[in-house]
Each structure stands twice: as C-alpha cells, then as structure tokens.
Symmetry: D2
Amino acid sequence: MTEPRFDFASDNTAGACPEALQALVEHNAGFTSGYGTDHVTRKAADAVRALLDADADVRFLASGTAANSVACSTLVRPFEAMLAHQHAHIRTDETGAPGYFGQGLGSIGLPGASGKIEPAALEAALAQTDVSYHQSAAALSITNVTEYGTVYSVEEVRRLTSLAKAKGYPVHLDGARLANAVAAGFDVKALKSLDIDMLVIGGTKAGAPLSEALVLFNKGLSRRFDARLKQAGQLPSKGRFIASPWIGLLADGAWTRHAAHANAMAKTLAGKLPFPIVHPVEANGVFVEMDEPTLQRLHGAGLFVFRFVDGSVRFMCSWATTDAAVEEAAALANSIV
Amino acid sequence: MTEPRFDFASDNTAGACPEALQALVEHNAGFTSGYGTDHVTRKAADAVRALLDADADVRFLASGTAANSVACSTLVRPFEAMLAHQHAHIRTDETGAPGYFGQGLGSIGLPGASGKIEPAALEAALAQTDVSYHQSAAALSITNVTEYGTVYSVEEVRRLTSLAKAKGYPVHLDGARLANAVAAGFDVKALKSLDIDMLVIGGTKAGAPLSEALVLFNKGLSRRFDARLKQAGQLPSKGRFIASPWIGLLADGAWTRHAAHANAMAKTLAGKLPFPIVHPVEANGVFVEMDEPTLQRLHGAGLFVFRFVDGSVRFMCSWATTDAAVEEAAALANSIV
Amino acid sequence: MTEPRFDFASDNTAGACPEALQALVEHNAGFTSGYGTDHVTRKAADAVRALLDADADVRFLASGTAANSVACSTLVRPFEAMLAHQHAHIRTDETGAPGYFGQGLGSIGLPGASGKIEPAALEAALAQTDVSYHQSAAALSITNVTEYGTVYSVEEVRRLTSLAKAKGYPVHLDGARLANAVAAGFDVKALKSLDIDMLVIGGTKAGAPLSEALVLFNKGLSRRFDARLKQAGQLPSKGRFIASPWIGLLADGAWTRHAAHANAMAKTLAGKLPFPIVHPVEANGVFVEMDEPTLQRLHGAGLFVFRFVDGSVRFMCSWATTDAAVEEAAALANSIV
Amino acid sequence: MTEPRFDFASDNTAGACPEALQALVEHNAGFTSGYGTDHVTRKAADAVRALLDADADVRFLASGTAANSVACSTLVRPFEAMLAHQHAHIRTDETGAPGYFGQGLGSIGLPGASGKIEPAALEAALAQTDVSYHQSAAALSITNVTEYGTVYSVEEVRRLTSLAKAKGYPVHLDGARLANAVAAGFDVKALKSLDIDMLVIGGTKAGAPLSEALVLFNKGLSRRFDARLKQAGQLPSKGRFIASPWIGLLADGAWTRHAAHANAMAKTLAGKLPFPIVHPVEANGVFVEMDEPTLQRLHGAGLFVFRFVDGSVRFMCSWATTDAAVEEAAALANSIV
C-alpha cells in the first residue's frame, strides 16, 4: 500500500494557510489581557465586522462543534427543537453535541434535495401545533455551503429565514464553509439583512489553524456571553491565538481567495473522476456514486474519502489542494474502477 | 496613566514560547487525518508519556476549564460531589463549568493552609455518611501547584490520594502549573505511582499557545473518550495545532526550564515587593497583603494584578518575565505604597 | 356535540381501581419516616419482589416518563445512545425526556413490525464500529407490551437481550403495560432470567393513581440511587402514597386481573369496529386504519382516540372499560363511517 | 427501645388530612383527559387562583424538589446563579437538584438571622460586577416560612423583591410552608402585588398526599410550560391525583386551619421543651440548642428529630400533631436531659 493521503478526505486535513499562520506568529509578541479581552481579539473582531459590514458582536471559538452547539443552546431550550436539514451536521456528525450543550434540546429534520431545506417542508413543520409530549420547533438552522456542497443563494436563505421569523423564531446559520459559498457568489455583506441571529463563520476549513467566528447579529443575545463561553470551556485564556489567524485571513482577502481556489479544484476534480456526480458541484466538495468494493479499493490504494449519510462518497478540496494532487487522485480513481 | 501592563496579572498573558511556536509552525506542513488521529498528535502524546515515564492515554484540549471539567464529569455523577480545596479553581473561577459539563455535579470544599488540603479535613469528609439529600463525595481533586502558589510534595499528594483510594474514590490532579511544581522539585515521574486516575498537565501557562494535556493513567476510563471529547466540543478537527506545541515544549526540557525561570523570577520579585508575603513562594506566584486603596493605585499606575478569594493579591511570573520587568514592577510598587 | 369521552383515548384516563385506592387510604394512618424509607414502601417493594420472584431493588416513582428517563440516564452516558424500536415511547412521546435527564444522551431507532424490534436490525446496529462523531450504542431498551399493542414472548425478549449482552450492553425494559403482557401470557417470573438490568413496571395504566415501579435486577446500579432520584425530583417525602397502591394491586392479583379485563375488552372492541385492524390485538389496544375525515367525525361525535406515529388510530381499553362502553363506542364508530 | 416515632421529625411524616384524601377519592370517578388538561385540575387551579385572588397560571407537581428546581431552571441560565439564603433548602438539602434541572446553574448564599435574607447582603450581592469566570446573580429566591421557622412579613418580602426587581431580576418564592406563614398572619392575597414571578405553594406539608402548586404570576414564563414539565417527568398522565387534594384543602379553609393548628402545637411544644430556643417560634417548627449526646439519647428513646445546618435541632409539628403527642415528646425530652 502507498502512503495514505488525507488531502481529499476533508477540508480540515490541510494545515494553516500562510496568511493565517503568519498573523498568529506576528501577534505572539508581548503580553495581553486574557479571555478574549485583548487587543488582538478586538482587531480580529473588527475584521469580521468589516467583512460583514455589520455592527455585530463577535467571539472566537476553537471548535466548530462548540460554536454551533453554543448557538443552538442559546436559541433553543431543552424542551424545544431546532429545525434543520435532516442531514445537517448538527444532527448527524456532532456526537449529539447540541443536546449535550443544551441538556437534551431536540432537532427536527427537514427534507430537501442536495442539502437545501425544502421551503414547503419548513412551512409544514412551522405549522405544527404544539403538544406537550413533543419538542416543538423553536429556531431554524441553515447550513451554507450545505452538507452536500451546494450553495444557497441570498434569496433562498431569505425565503427560509422569513418563514421562521414570521413565527417569531430565531435563526442560526452554520457557515463552516461560508468562505466557499462567498467564493461561489454568495454576497457576504447581505447576511446582515437576512434576519440571522447567530452566524458561525468557519475559519478552520478556510485556512486557520483552528478557529471559528461566532457572530451575534442579534445583540440581545450577547448578555453574559463570555460567562456562557467560559462555562462551556470556550473562552481560552490566550484568546489571541484563535483570534489572530482571522487578521491574516481577512487582511487582503485570503479567506475568499483560498476558498475560490478550493472551489475551482473541486470543479476540475469533478471533471476527471470516473464516477457519476450526485450533487451539483457548487463549492469545494464533489459527491459521487460509488459502490462499496470500489471505495475499499480506493482506501486500499491509500486515498481516503468517506461515504456520507445519503450514501454518496465525498471528495473535498481545500486551500492547499494542488493541481498535481487533483491529477493524482483522478488517475488513481480511474485506475481502480 | 502609563500603558497598562498585564505581565504580572497571570501566567497566561504571555505569548507562546519560541520552542512551542516553532514546533507548531514546523508541523503545519502537509495533510493529516483529523480529530486527534494524526501522527503529530501521536508524537506529542508519546512525548507526554516519556515525560511521565508512563503508559497512559493522552489527549490534548484547547482549554484548561474544559480539561478539568471533562475530568470531573468522567469521575463524578450529577448526584455526587468532587472533593477539592475550598479555593480550588474548579470551585471558584470556572463559572461553574464542572457542573455544566457534569449536569449539576457538586463539589465539597475542604480547608487547608495556603491551598493545600488538610488531610484531617479530607478524612472527615470521607467519613461522612451518605444521605439521599446531599451530593456525597465520589472523587478527589488535587491542584499542584496549588491555587496559592505552594507545591505539594510527592508524599503529601500520596497521603491524600491514599485516603481517597481507601474509600475506592478516583483522583483528579489539576496540573495547570505542574511544570512549576516540577521545577520546584516535584518528581514528575512519581505521578504514575500516586494512584491518580486523571491528570491535567498545563501547557498554556507553560508556554504553549493554548493546550492542555489530559492524561488517563486509568485506562479503564478511556472507553469512547474521543466521542466524549467530540460531544463536549473538545476534539478539534485540526488537532495537530494543540498537539504540536508539546513536541517543542518537551523536546529538550523547555517545559521545565521555562517554569524554573518563572519560579526564580517570582522569588526575586518577592524579595523586592514592599508588601507582606502571605503564602510561601514556592513556584511562580507571589501572594501579598495589600489594602484596596493601594491596589487601586497600582491599577492606576498601569500594573494589573488581582485580589484572590482569600483576600491576598497575586503577582504571577511566567516563562516570559524578564529581570527588567521584575525591577520595574518592584519599583512601581515601592513608589505607590 | 355530545359530552366528550376519553375512555378509549388512553389507558390512563381512568381513575384508580378500587384495590389501589383502598390500599392508599388504608396506609394513610399514622406517621412514617420519609423519602421512601418507610414501612409502607418496604411492604410494597416486597410485593413487587414477590411478583417477580426476584431479589431485586425496587423504587417507586410518580411518573413513567421519569422512570424510563432515570433508567436511560443510569445506563447510557451523554455521548452514547440507547437502542430502541424506532417508535418506542422514549423516542417519540416523552418530549426528549431521556436526553434531558441524561444531558443529551442519544437513541438509535430500530425497525420491526408492529413495535417489535427486528433481531437482525439489532444485530446490525450492534455490529456498527464506534466512531467519535456518533453516539454509539451502549444499552438496549425493549417495550413490552409494545407501542402497537403486541406482546413479546419470553423467548423473543431473550433473543434481543442476549444479543445486547453478548456485546456487554445493559438492558432496560419499559413495562408501562407489563400487566397486559402478563395477562396475555407473558411469564412475569421469567423476567429475572432475561438479563434485564432495569425494569419499569407500570402501575398507573394498571389501575394505580400514579405510580411506576423501577426494578433494579442489577444491584450494582443501585449505589446512591436514592440520591439520584432525589436530585431528579423523584423521591417524594410522602413516599407511601406512591407505594401503597401497589400493595392493593398485588395483594390478590388485581394487577393482572384488571389487565386481563382490559385485554378482553380490546378483543371485543376489535371485533365490532368497522375499520381494518393494522396490528395484532394481543393486549389492550386496538390499532385501526382510518382516514382523517373519519377521525374528525369521531372527535366531532365526542369520542377521542388518537393517530399514532405509524399513521394508525388507537383505541385503548383499561381496567375501567365496560361492556356497555365498548358497545357505545362501536355503535358510534359504525354510525359515522 | 420504644417504637420509633417520626411525628416531630418533619411535617411530611404525617399522612394526608381528611379533606385532601376525601377530595382525592371523590374525584376518582369517571374518565378524564390526561396530562393536566382535565376538569379536576382546572377546578383545583381555580381554587388556587381564588386563594391568591390572582389570575395566574397554575400547575401541580408531585415533588417540591422538582417544583423549586423547575422554577430555578426557568429563571436562571446555567452560567448564572440564584440568590438565596445561605441555608435555603434549594442550596442545602436537594442533592443539587436545581443544578441538575438547570445544567449546573449556580447559587449565591446570602447571610441573615434565623433564615431571613439580610437586605444589606442582598444589596451588596446585587451590586457585584459581572465577571466572565463567575456565575453572576440572575434571580432571587425567598423562602417563607424560612428554613428556621420564622415568617417574613409582607413588607419584608417586598423590600427584598424590590431590590431584585430594581436590577431586572425575577423572583421565586419557595412556599413549601406558605400555609404556616399565612396562619401566622402573612396575607396570602398580598403575594400578587409583591413582584414574584414564580411561587411554589406547599401542599404536601399542609396535608396533601403529595402535591405542590407551581404558580406563574408572570405569564410570560408559561410558554410551553407543559412541555417543560413533561420533559422533566413532572406532568403525570393521571394529573387529577395531584390536583384533587387541593380542592379539598382549599374548599373551606382546611389548608390554613391545619397550618394554624400546627403553629399552635409548635408554640405549645416550645414552652415545654427543656432546651434553649434558638429561633423565634413563628410557625410550626421549634429549633433548639442540644448537644450531641442528648440528641443521641433522644434518638435512642425513639424520638427522631434532626440537627440542621446551623447546628440547631428541629422539632416539627404538622396538621396531625396532637396535644397528647406534644405532651409525650416534651415529657420524653425532659426525662433524658
């Protein structure tokens, strides 16, 4: 067997991009106050606000699981449920973290092609009558880029959030791959107008060592938020190290530029793989149909890619994916079919 | 007012030490598998095992609050309590994080001079009869270096753990400043013989960007531990970034060397401060008696130090504390008394 | 519209049966110690042990939701999951209570006709490899009588529990309607041999005012169980009032006798209803196919019965169901089809 | 040793009073809808509203621990704390139940003589600055009758609630022995004017089999409250059995009448006991100074009374205490001193 390669297994198998790493190193000098009260964190938060063109509260967390789970537990009480796509990450791949952070808060899965919530399904769920023996819907979670690599348009997001808002329910947007959505044409500055209460912007998959930005467009939710984070183990003393990478990522557009590169690599790869493509390739993931023996042969050949909840197999590209790697992966795939 | 200085406010106000930062940068290259399954994490875990001379399971977490809280919730059920010094960090400064991670698990505070649990008090607590309306003791937590800068000897720890073990209770050791204890003479390789089930070794305060090592001497507790961490938001995808600093810290003894420096700086500072010293200066903290107007004058002069639970005011030194800074802080303190 | 009638809506719409109520009144006299330490509770627990012919620990709780949720949270940690039929009560109708009591513990739904877990599906679930991002199976929950009114035989239960035990997983049996299973031929004294760790025996649906017996066949789980119950709000001071009804129910077989009556009423009703029967009528419930307009006409005529998760409509009989009521309900149903 | 007697051990060692038990029996007939939606529950809730002369939402729970813990978890988030007297039941005798129901929510103990919160201490606590590493105050809990048998006047309660309200914090009143306070002169109809958000009225200690009324003066908190209760195992299907006793207790003043009797018995007992009285005897408890050998002799003689957190020993009277019992207890106490 050849050396195993993880570069298409996920977009979190790459290291940090140069811009993020350099900013981390540059902001290492000197002493700062702790727990997110420092000037590096302020500067990074300003950069996020500038990206969004919005006067929002911003925090940085070391984990996407935690960022989304803190959001869920802020918006939904234990006896209520989060509405989300049935295959949303918070429902399928977080070891039940939202329910741990939120003491058993529930979720209601909504159908929809290629990871996008079907508006009619959302409407139907919102129309359900409360009963005491069910966890009723209390908030909406949208993922963009979706779990299957597709990208909601601004109008598509607005349609969903307006349905939730008509019922008075708050909205969470899981943007673990928001950079890829933006690179695909989603207007990042439109987010502030979309009635989103809490937004998680992915830094890790975009090239940070490990950091997610948690944005509170709804500042009414910010009260004692640092205590909330501290209690959840998400307010590290040396907060500058999860903030500073954002300064590098956002200084000259690396965040979007790298995402555009990852998206382009995915498109190229999709054109070369010998498998049927099962979801539109709109961002940095390629989802294909592949039977189990073929997948095992790929693994045997050292190329790790994974089967997803809907049965498709995912190839991911990242800021670090090279043309050569795409060629090699495609060649290897073609050699084992 | 002069520029505020935080260098004596805590030992987490410094950046990362060169060894840790360099290791982080060096291990940035290439792709790895995620969620702590990577070779960098393995190498760092090996280094921790070598430090301890023990075949233990090792995990890395981005937060000390989380590391201690995960440990508490592993050892104590919600209707039970952790025995700890009454001023232990887990009881006083974590926003109730152990109770959040462990759904209301309790703690029982034990007295003892300068942060060390009085063995007789532990014995008395262990002799309490279970009653259904109290959270009974189920585990013991020891902090070394203590909250007040003193250092338990190996024999002192053994005495406490043997009392707990005689009742069949597991033991947690909070070693946020274990490096400073080791630099003060505590034999790190004796830990494996002290009946400690879970150990947290501080990396952050020792010079890492942000990382704590969670050591499971008791491997019976390791089952599904990664799932436990994932659910708690403590299994970051790019795990190498909280593991690699340990490679640098432990490669040639930087972890202990820097701690010895911090300890020495504290001793020097203690000799120059114009305040009564209220706890033995055995590690990197100096605790002094200071009235409130004096503290306010210090803050006004830009030197941030904080009052603790017992009323004393703490000056902390770190790997980054310089002789010049000690001179300046001492001069400033002398100028305002 | 006629006066609404709830007597077929559930088996918990009836009052208490005479035997239970009389025992409650009889044991009201005098003073007792509190919190389940009293002689009435001991006597009731003895009666349950005699019923089971087993030396088990027994507690009484005022709520079935709580009894099952306490069991789940005793057997499964937050980052693990309970295996259960996909339509099991603990998954569908408890407002997420197991997750609340167990801080987000998960469940894995298993298929199977008419509420019985398909053994092959259980085997497949047990064969799943642990991954850190999923809540892996840690225990099995079986419901007898099932959610759809069918009754597992002793051998069917044994087959499921032996599969779980082969993996070392504990077993919970939700016996909210165990009396009806026993009346249908299930040997209650066989339970002790079935490798069940925790058993909930329904009192409420069997004729108690409100009480469930929680049986710990596995006494290793009993440590500090009263503290567990107290913390969960399930150790009432005047415990005798949830214990004494069991003395009446079990003194001369009322518990089984009433259940046999309810089962017989269901069989009679099934023979008279003008709807297709969709599940075997083996206990006290009749599940029929009925379109929505017909159900609305039934409700309009004052007869409340409910649609279940699988789409069928349920008629329930209880200890208090009379021949006359069965006639009336059948006549009414026939009049509106 | 004589037969142990528990009649002075607590006011929950008595059975149900005749009025409560008769109402329970009377409302047993017929079928009702479940989960607190029935006409018996409505009638009982109306009776509670009439008692309070207030249009509040009312629920009935089987457990006082649960009623207070549900209230705490409604008013305080996990990273916040409840202000309460340092010896309040919710802090000292509930096995940490508020923290279990509220995922680690904290409490801040306030001093004050004989169980009454010292207003100056409350003011000082309310003036504390929020810091991220502490659970900051978010609500106030008052107990009347207090833990030490004293009774707040309406004006004393108002002073405390107005301090909390000035900070925007909600208020919980634990009225486990509210009947005894009312019998001692506290105007029950004044409660509605005291800015109390959630009130727990004790039924169990007042003569119910087991039931507490949870009153939501602040209806803004009622949204999905039945789901909250269901999830917490506090919405029993046969809700009538915890509601009906209130119909009997409140129909002709039994609730207050029995409490007045218990208060009178306590006054009589206090005059006969050979021990120094350490708290004013204003309700149904007598707290005395007693050394440990004497207490052991009392226990040895079969009279069970318990030592409290402040070191005093408590004798409780209830609706069922007789003159003869008071004479016997006093004689026994005098015989062993």
